[in-house]
């Protein structure tokens, strides 16, 4: 039964499948071209060439120079490195960092660490009900001791696209380093580090059909960084350790394809997304869309379904072959629902009933229609079981 069930995967913000073209270019780097890029013999040089070719591919996708791309083990590592390094290198200049309240935990927890153990002052900017940071707030928060601004390009839960270009301009004018967590944005919207005035940018391969466990940090030429890992000359002496060769090759290919396909990706996913959003809002009463509608990732749908709890909703959908995610407490591993949903002003009980469906290149019109067919019944079913009702909830 479950084995033959058709799976409609709508959790592409969590991870994506590795594309066949990406896997194909990776495979030879496990057992044929297995060299250590640091070795000077031909087998090593072969591997080195592959790493540098991937670096060029990543740089080209971001409008950067190859020597500004540093391979890491993924988005969280890039975020940690960018923030800790900027903080430590500029400690003498000041100890103030500006970020937002809806960042990924890889950013927030690093800032909390600096706050708690290193004496930093962190400004967590609020967002509006759509999840947008106001660039004016960024400008107003800049003080003499501000050393870093870290604002994400796109939010992973509600899909809101932040005004990165405007913030970049403000940061540049003030002479403050600007980091953006672009893990959800790369491969989903156009990114140009120079047009955006970004100094540091984090990305992760598995969000755009590359392998897991590999990512990159863009570091603008001239930005001084300290070591993430000591012990070798890899990544310009900053991140030691033999390169994750096959995965780096995969990252290069994946980002190249994603950027080349961006125009059609955007058209296709925006259409499916809006169909799904409009369908859900039309078919199910007492549902709200979370996140800004106009400034939104092409594949992101995030709704709060009142009177029911997110994990139950997810598991019911899972039984029907639809894979999504939720910001409910039960899926976050704590008693509080997602910090992003609370930051946009949702009361706890409504945040608990959130459902994120993140579309990807594998999704079709039929998938959307199927979800629109089954979701209203699942909601009706769970609401019939819920002790919450409209007056009780909004009394």
């Amino acid at each position: 039964m479950a084995e033959n069930k058709k799976i409609i995967y709508m959790d592409n913000a969590a991870t994506t499948a590795v594309r066949k073209e990406v896997l194909d270019v990776m495979l030879p780097y496990f057992s044929e071209h297995y060299g250590n890029p640091s070795s000077i013999h031909s087998v090593g040089r072969d591997a080195k060439r592959a790493v540098e070719a991937a670096r060029k591919q990543v740089a080209a996708a971001l409008g950067a120079q190859p020597q500004e791309i540093y391979f890491t083990a993924g988005g969280s590592e890039s975020d940690n490195w960018a923030i800790r390094s900027a903080a430590e290198m500029l400690e003498k200049k000041g100890k103030h960092i500006i970020t937002s309240s809806i960042e990924h935990h890889a950013v927030l927890h690093t800032c909390e660490y600096l706050e708690k153990y290193r004496g930093y002052r962190i400004t967590y900017l609020p967002v509006d009900e759509g999840g947008l940071v106001n660039p004016q707030d960024v400008k107003n928060a800049i003080a003499d001791d501000t050393v870093l601004i870290s604002i994400m390009a796109a939010n992973n839960e509600i899909g809101t696209l932040e005004p990165i270009a405007e913030i970049g301009k403000i940061a540049k004018a003030a002479g403050v380093l600007f980091h953006t967590d672009a893990v959800q944005a790369v491969g989903a919207i156009p990114i140009d580090v120079n047009a955006l005035n970004v100094d540091l940018l984090s990305l992760s391969a598995h969000k755009f059909h590359g392998p897991k466990g590999v990512g990159a940090l863009y570091i603008r030429k001239g930005v001084r960084m300290n070591n993430l890992i000591f012990g070798g000359a890899q990544e310009r002496n900053l991140r030691a350790g033999t390169e994750n060769l096959a995965s780096i090759v995969g990252l290069g290919k994946a980002i190249e394809i994603a950027v080349a396909e961006l125009p059609e990706y955007t058209v296709k996913l925006t259409k499916l997304r809006d169909e799904l959003i409009n369908g859900i809002l039309a078919e199910i009463p007492d549902v709200r869309l979370n996140g800004d509608h106009a400034h939104r990732l092409p594949g992101n749908v995030n709704v709060s379904v009142r009177y029911i709890e997110g994990e139950s909703l997810l598991m019911r959908l899972d039984l029907l072959g639809v894979e999504g995610s939720s910001g409910s407490a039960c899926t976050s591993g704590s008693l509080d629902p997602s910090h992003v949903l609370l930051a946009i002003g949702l009361p706890h009980e409504i945040a608990h009933g959130s459902l994120r469906l993140s579309l990807g290149i594998g999704n079709t019109e039929e998938d959307v229609q199927y979800v629109l067919k089954v979701l209203p019944d699942v909601v009706k079913d769970l609401r019939a079981m819920s002790p919450l009702t409209r007056p009780a909830c909004f009394a």
Binding site: E309, S312, A329, C330, H348, H352
Partner: protein, 125 residues
Amino acid sequence: MYSEKVMDHFEHPRNVGEIADASGTGTVGNARCGDIMKMDIKVENNIITDVKFKTFGCCAAVATSSMATEMVKGKSVEEALQLTNKAVAEALDGLPAVKIHCSLLAEEAIHAALEDYHKKHPQGE
């Protein structure tokens, strides 16, 4: 993550609903935390002849509510008072550690319903 029994009770919850002339009702948890359980019991001659629940919560909350109703149905009031969260979790072949509080809620809901029954029926009937 969940046992087959949990999934079975989640997918096919037993005793969902309300009892119009309930002998006792208990509601525990709160929406802020993401779990609310409401239990209605019908007591006749000191025996729980019917029990219904409504739950707002995760899979484990639904499954423990469902299992708890099965475990007290047909039992005497005294026997039902012996119901523990541990017994409910065991009957479901265990719960993930982070979900143990859900089984606690099921125990509390049954106890709250019994307490309400005692308040309304100080002499037993």
